[in-house]
């Protein structure tokens, strides 16, 4: 219990540091912030008079000393307040709340797809003789290196535009989820597969595997019941890390397949230089990342109880 509490405290510390980092990146903005907001609103780049700037400064608290702004920012975050969007003039939390679900569905679908593909690949090709092994690991190396934007475009061109098996614009339908989820899942599967394969091959040389075989267990049983359990451990850790990568990929997949979601509003916000909205989403992803890794850490202890003793 004590270690769990320490882990949670550590996670909170990382989040606080992340908030501080985000705040200071924002504070490094070259030029005047109120001018930026007014210029972005009107689409012209001109010098603004004090009379124009004053209400904006007042509204967003830009006149406060920097430490007061920092305290306000962190205090707001602690209460779940991510600030107000410069462009949409609505609370960032509200905007995210409306858009987050399609992105979460996409991320989960991609994670499941990646695990299924990685496990199938490992079970079918690891230690099955030279050629299947080489093919399997070659495929993994190749797919792990594929950038999301390129894979997404190819899937779109081949399966949606040429073969017309899937809609070109995903919308919110279930069938529209397939190509974006594969765009994210295929490289992740390659990545996870490389790790599970390594472990799997090591485990298959262990004495307990020989003993299971000696007891007359079939090859599939050995792989499925004994070897797999050990081989997935490092991949579980990587899944926590992969949440961040998946989220980045989701931004790109949403743009390619014209899906609703966080990614779409994020890119628009970055183009419009809507700092609170972008940093709000960045903070949210940091939160998801930290929580996911905390859960992975705890899950690890369940799968392999020896960890508790050694740490």
């Amino acid at each position: 219990m004590k270690t769990v509490a320490l882990k949670v405290l550590g996670a909170i510390a990382v989040l606080w540091a992340a908030a501080t980092f985000t705040f200071f990146v924002q504070a490094a903005l070259p030029g005047d912030r109120a001018t930026l907001i007014l210029n972005q609103d009107s689409g012209q780049i001109i010098k603004r008079s004090d009379a124009e700037l004053a209400p904006v400064n007042e509204k967003f608290g830009f006149d406060d000393p920097i430490y007061a702004q920092y305290v306000n920012y962190v205090a707001g975050l602690a209460q779940g307040d991510l600030g107000t969007s410069y462009r949409l003039k609505a609370p960032v939390t509200e905007i995210i709340g409306e858009q987050i679900w399609p992105t979460i569905f996409l991320t989960i679908a991609a994670l499941i797809a990646a695990w299924v593909m990685a496990l199938a690949l490992t079970l079918l090709t690891a230690k099955r003789g030279r050629i299947p092994s080489a093919l399997g690991s070659g495929y993994e190396t190749f797919t792990a290196a594929l950038p999301h934007y390129w894979l997404g475009v190819i899937l779109l061109v081949v399966f949606a535009i040429e073969l017309q098996l899937f809609p070109v614009e995903g919308g919110s339908s279930l069938i529209g989820l397939v190509l974006p989820a594969l765009t994210l899942g295929i490289p992740l599967a390659g990545f996870l597969g490389q790790v599970t394969r390594d472990e799997f091959e090591k485990v298959l040389d262990q004495p307990f595997v020989t003993s299971a075989r000696a007891r007359g267990m079939g090859d599939f049983g050995v792989r499925w019941r004994h070897a797999l359990r050990h081989a997935v451990l490092p991949a579980i850790t990587l899944s926590g890390w992969a949440i961040g990568a998946l989220f980045s990929g989701a931004v790109i997949a949403e743009i390619i397949f014209a899906r609703q979601g966080i990614g779409n509003i994020l890119v628009t916000a970055a183009n419009m230089r809507d700092i609170p909205l972008v940093s709000g989403i960045v903070m949210l992803v940091a939160l998801i990342y930290v929580v996911a890794n905390l859960l992975v850490d705890l899950a690890y202890r369940v799968v392999d109880p020896r960890i508790e003793v050694s740490s």
Binding site: H148, I252, R273
Partner: protein, 281 residues
Amino acid sequence: MSGALLALPRVQVRFRPGLTLSIALVAFFVIAAIAPSLLTTQDPLKINLGDALQAPSAAHIFGTDQSGRDLYARVVYGARESLFIGLAATALSMSIAFVLGVSAALGNKLTDGAINRFIELLFAFPVLLLSLLFVTVFGAGLTTLIVAVGVGTAPGYARMIRGQVLAVKGSGYVEAAGALGHSYPKVIRRHILPNAMRPLVVLVTLGVGQSIVWASGLAFLGLGVAPPSPEWGALLDAGRTYITQAWWLEVMPGLAIVSFALALTAIGRYVQQRLEGGLQR
């Protein structure tokens, strides 16, 4: 195999098709970056509206874009800027990673703990999101792109460098140098750093490819270098509008990026195996 017949150690000249192809590809792109006119006679900026959106053919092997510009020429001429972005971002990323990794490994427990926490913190920001934040605050452009990718990719390398320095620090020859009475700074300079930095060659090779991939991803989202630059990411961004009519505008520049990154990875892996000395067995 026939090892018993030859008592002398043989020089291995085994033909490696993957490696040869990778070296050829990298050489091609390096030539493209230095002297693009050697590889194409076409002008990457010449507009020819009569030839707009032509599919790949013998005359235009990568096809043409919406203004009838030859896409192959654009990819070749874009290599310089893309390679520059990749090298600059990697240089930045490695410098940050070097400072963090080496000070963590050689510092006391407190420094190590603090730097490790900092690296963990940077990990909480995925490269793409950190880059988007930078673009939002500082505005899109070449410098922002390089800084964003450089900072975003630094924590992974920092962790690897730290591990490497720690491994060398704990090795027998470092202990021996200490026992011989060499001063600690001298041991660091003469033994630890040179040995720990050798695998960095590999990291740099992999890093350049990765940086180009990240930078083009940002450019793909419209947050990179402004047109009409034929930088690879900018080509991807420009082609997005025409995706339903002209697949080659996305697929071909992407092919250049992916093949370049994969070739660098293959070369990096090979060098890594050679450094570890386990390849020939």
